[in-house]
């Protein structure tokens, strides 16, 4: 439930201290008047509002302060995430906006939607979670493509789920033991080619592309009859 600040006519106020140390006035009397037409004879007004914290009763000047507070939170989150090696561009990519929008959030020129702010907070938690287990590989874990999609591009859609599942999608730490295999006594057959490569006589193939019709890449497995192999003649059983 919410109400418009412009229509708000306070009849009584209760000042609360928020977790960020900011005073917020809950002018509950007018709120109930706005909703029910009167606040007369309605007990437990303050408690009722306490149970419905989404009701906004902040005066306009406090709204501005709240706006700036969001900007500060975005800045703190962005900078914290960037300390793990992500660029601002990548933070914006993870949240699903362009870098200019993210800068606008930080400067206070643009107010992020609740959904985007939620995604940014999730990203902050995800990055911190990854950093706990793989402190030097946060960016690698987020950017490596597994099954075609990088983790960073799934935060918007699967942010909450990723907090539980990122380990399965990230490249696992592998312990590698390497040793020369036995039996390498003779010069390998690729040695002359290796020498030619060192002398600059060999190069990679070029990148020419050849346009081909779609039919070059289509098939119909119903045509597989041409490859049918006759079943071996079944051996009779019971007779010798």
């Amino acid at each position: 439930m919410s109400t418009s600040v412009a229509d708000f006519r306070p009849t009584s106020s209760t000042v609360l201290e928020t977790s960020r140390g900011r005073a917020v006035a809950l002018q509950t009397g007018l709120l109930l008047a706005a909703v029910f037409g009167t606040n007369a004879g309605v007990p437990g007004v303050i408690r009722w509002v306490d149970d419905a914290p989404l009701v906004t009763t902040t005066p306009v000047n406090d709204r501005t302060r709240a706006f700036l507070s969001i900007a500060n939170e975005v800045r703190e989150l962005r900078d914290e995430i960037c300390t793990y090696g992500l660029t601002r561009q990548e933070v914006a990519r993870a949240v699903g906006v362009d870098r200019r929008s993210l800068s606008g959030w930080v400067s206070g020129e643009i107010r992020p939607s609740a959904d985007r702010l939620h995604v940014l907070r999730l990203l902050g938690r995800l990055v911190a979670d990854i950093a706990t287990e793989r402190p030097d590989h946060v960016r690698d874990v987020l950017l490596v493509r597994r099954s075609g999609t990088a983790l960073i591009d799934r935060v918007v859609v699967n942010g909450a789920t990723l907090l539980r599942t990122w380990r399965a999608t990230a490249r696992p730490d592998a312990t590698v033991a390497l040793r020369a295999a036995p039996g390498q006594f003779r010069e390998p057959i690729w040695a002359p080619a290796e020498a030619a490569l060192a002398e600059g006589r060999l190069t990679p193939p070029t990148w020419e592309r050849t346009m081909r019709p779609d039919t070059a890449y289509e098939m119909d497995v119903d045509e597989a009859g041409a490859f049918h192999e006759p079943e071996p003649h079944p051996r009779r059983r019971g007779y010798r």
Binding site: V176, L178, Q184, A193, L197, L202, R212, E223
Partner: protein, 253 residues
């Protein structure tokens, strides 16, 4: 075996089936690290990977090798052609579609190849091997420039490689590619030892005409004089190439 002068051609152009490359190869092995004798020269490194979510480690043998490309030419541009077609269907003109497809770094760059091994390391009759009569192997003559020794492509070892991580040593002729395709087909799919016969003599009818069914482009349809027909599968062949263009070299990813 095809003589070297007819087997090798100028080293140029985009990657093609039959190209001989210098590349790394790897394969998974069991705990006892069994390796066929012919592959011991390919197994320069013995790698054990202890993965955190797996009770048993993965074991690999890896090393450098001369390899022959086994993927068909079409494969190298498969996803590029698909992407290009999709972009044109979305309304882009051909030039823009080509540019967008060229810039797409997600398109597949992988292909398969098989290593060359020395004939003396294979436990088969050397004469039959180098005459191309042993299924699973393709004889390769020594190249005039000395970079490729007389050897055999071991088609039973197939490694997946990245187009950005190879160096080409030699290109082969169309005749050599035809032998490779036949050897691949004989190894992987065709078990008939003879593919040619006098069809008219067998069916006892005269072949009046030949057509290519539109709905089955791989078939050759033989129409017999009694009104019946016989469908034959076309032999593998070079596809007619469309117009080619050169894309800017992609940065090593």
């Amino acid at each position: 075996m095809i003589p070297a002068d007819d087997f090798f051609v100028a080293n140029a152009g985009a990657p093609k089936q039959g190209d001989i490359l210098l590349a790394g190869v790897a394969r998974l092995v069991a705990e006892d690290r069994f390796s066929p004798r012919a592959w011991e020269s390919l197994d320069a490194a013995d790698i054990t990977l202890d993965l955190p979510d797996r009770d048993r480690p993965l074991r690999l043998m890896a090393g450098m090798a001369l390899v022959m490309v086994t993927s068909h030419d079409c494969h190298f541009d498969k996803q590029w052609n698909r992407a290009r077609t999709a972009l044109i269907e979305e309304g882009l003109d051909e030039a823009s579609a080509n540019r967008r497809a060229d810039a797409d770094k997600t398109l597949d760059r992988t292909f398969t190849a098989s290593p060359l091994v020395l004939p003396t390391e294979l436990s088969v009759d050397q004469g039959n091997l180098m005459a191309g009569r042993v299924v699973g192997y393709l004889p390769v003559p020594a190249s005039p420039d000395g970079l490729v020794p007389a050897s055999a492509v071991d088609l039973t070892y197939r490694a997946t490689l990245d187009r950005l991580d190879i160096v080409r040593v030699a290109c082969v002729s169309a005749a050599a590619r035809a032998q490779l395709r036949y050897a691949l087909a004989r190894l992987d799919s065709l078990r008939a030892t003879s593919v040619g016969f006098d069809l008219e003599a067998v069916v006892g009818r005269h072949i009046e005409r030949v057509s290519f069914p539109r709905q089955h482009p791989l078939f050759v349809r033989l129409h017999l004089d009694d009104g019946s027909h016989v469908d034959l599968l076309q032999q593998p062949a070079e596809l007619h190439e469309g117009p080619a263009r050169t894309a800017p070299p992609g940065p090593a990813a």
